[in-house]
Amino acid sequence: MKIEQGNSLWSDAWLRLKKNRLAFISLWTLLIIILACFILPSTSLVEANPNGNLSNAFAPPSSKHILGTDQIGRDLLWRILKGGQISLLVGLIATIISILIGVSYGAIAGYKGGKTDAVLMRIVDILYGLPFLILVILFSIVITDISKQAKPFLIEDLKLSKNFAELVINIIPLCLTIGLLGWYTMARVVRSQVLSSKKLEYIEAAVSLGLSHKNILFKQILPNQLGPIIVYTTLTIPGFILTEATLSFLGVGVQPPNSSWGIMLNEGANYMETKPLLIIFPSVVFAITLLALNFLGDGLRDALDPKASKD
């Protein structure tokens, strides 16, 4: 007798995702962009010249500099890839921070229910009312100013190189700021998921078996909510990359000599009139990355949670 092999949720989702052409192309595009950003700059394919070469500024695209050079003669492709490292990292780290906070907060609210839930969600309601960009700018400036004091410690005690210490002091506050202010939606999503799955039979079974609350919440309920969490994570990353770029564009995010896509767009805007390529190339890469992340998130939502509406 032939036994039909059942499909797991994940293999089902993978099949559905593969059928979604846009999402699948996006997935590959993203992989290529990520690999290019993190591998190419350390190969000899791209010329690395962090200090630039003024005599070679604004060079048009050529075989030596595929995308040309910037205002102080640095290879534009090299800068886009290096900037991409920072933009992608900030997006990712900030997302991880926000997911950790949002998931725990939402899970506790949903699991405890009753008064705890009411109070916790009321707090989220109030936090929702606070203007995001205003707080991000405020926090970013304040946390960055405070963390500047840690610089001697990083250089002298931890023996980090000066450049790396500057990068750490710049990036960590930025990720913290964005992550600390961006977890509300995740908390809401997880809370409603936990709230509804709490009533299911397998949880009742777990309760009657005498499992601890911690066990039930983290080993039974949350693993079954991975779908929505993954979907929302994918949709959060582009939002946070955009936030980083906005901050950097306004001059309160990544600070030169560190670079990110936001910094490049900011600098490029200054030369818009005469050297449009300086803003066009970073814009294109930036837009493609965000587009791919958004399409992938949409595709994942359809794949993992077919019932969810497309908003």
Binding site: G129, P131, I137, L138, I146, A269, N294
Partner: protein, 303 residues
């Protein structure tokens, strides 16, 4: 319904108090004070200034003084600009509001019709095309759209300027830059809302009864289908108003954005508080208005 409104109003007041308190203590976490940056201020002058701005008092006392000033209807004096905060705001606030409102207007007149058309032509080329454009609109930030419009549109159209703030013509490009992203979100939300309504039984009944397509859409579908889009307009407006910081930088518009960023950087305590207060009030009011409109449109929320 009155209870809901009162509830929201109360929540709005709590939001504003939280915002002001948070800003107040957060900005004072930065080491030093606003006067330390000023070059070579004689100790005596400095002490006098500290006294004028009550900076010599402890933070909780300063906080109470701030509320006292505020409750007397004043916002204090900018430490850096030496002008009343209310004066700086009265010059820059209208500019930010104009950009916000025109941006929202553009978002609505593009986004909602696009979403409705996409839903009516579900799964057609028009639908897919619109949704692709919408995703593009979401993914391309204002600081890419802005310079592109400035470069390729402002130089071609005679009455548009690359930068500056004179007459209503100068509102156009900043508003388009600001509104496109929101238009894209609105199109997606409108489409989803319309699709949801169009698949419901009462629409099928209306069709079965022989009502024509036009009246089904106008009389039955739109009212419910637009609810999610209207629910989004409240928070979107808040995002537009703060999002205008970027647009103000690109088109050199004298709005509140630059004041806010500079006030934070220079620790201009009272100016910062004033800016935050204004933004807070504006956002709370817009959200309240959206809530009221929503309860009016959706009878199920009225209980």
């Amino acid at each position: 319904m009155l209870k809901t409104i009162l509830d929201r109003l109360l929540q709005g007041i709590v939001v504003i108090i939280c915002l002001l308190t948070l800003t107040f203590f957060l900005i004072r976490l930065v080491p030093g004070d606003p006067l330390t940056d000023e070059k070579a201020m004689p100790p005596q002058v400095r002490a006098e200034n500290m006294k004028i701005f009550k900076l010599d008092k402890s933070q909780p006392v300063q906080y109470l003084y701030y509320w006292k000033t505020l409750l007397q209807g004043e916002m204090g004096i900018s430490i850096k600009k030496r002008q009343p905060v209310s004066m700086i705001i009265s010059q820059s606030f209208p500019v930010s509001v104009i950009i916000g409102i025109t941006g929202m207007f553009i978002a609505v007149i593009i986004g909602i019709p696009a979403g409705i058309i996409a839903a009516l032509k579900h799964n057609s080329l028009i639908d897919n095309g619109t949704m692709f454009l919408a995703m593009l609109g979401i993914s391309i930030p204002t600081f890419v759209v802005g310079p592109i419009l400035a470069k390729f549109v402002a130089t071609q159209v005679p009455f548009l300027k690359v930068a500056g703030w004179g007459g209503p013509f100068d509102w156009i490009l900043p508003a388009i830059t600001l509104g496109l992203g929101t238009a894209a979100y609105l199109a997606r939300i409108t489409r989803a809302g319309m699709l949801d309504i169009l698949s419901q039984d009462f629409i099928r009944t209306a069709k079965a009864k022989g009502a024509d397509q036009k009246s089904i859409i106008i009389k039955h579908a739109l009212k419910g289908g637009l609810v999610p889009a209207i629910a989004y307009i409240g928070p979107a407006f808040a995002m537009l108003i703060t999002g205008s910081f970027v647009v103000e930088t690109i088109f050199q518009v004298p709005g509140m954005g630059q004041h806010f960023v500079n006030a934070t950087k220079e620790r201009d305590y009272f100016l910062l508080q004033g800016m935050v207060l204004l933004f807070g009030v504006l956002i709370v009011m817009v959200n309240l208005a959206a809530d009221i409109l929503l309860t009016y449109l959706n009878p199920r929320l009225r209980s």
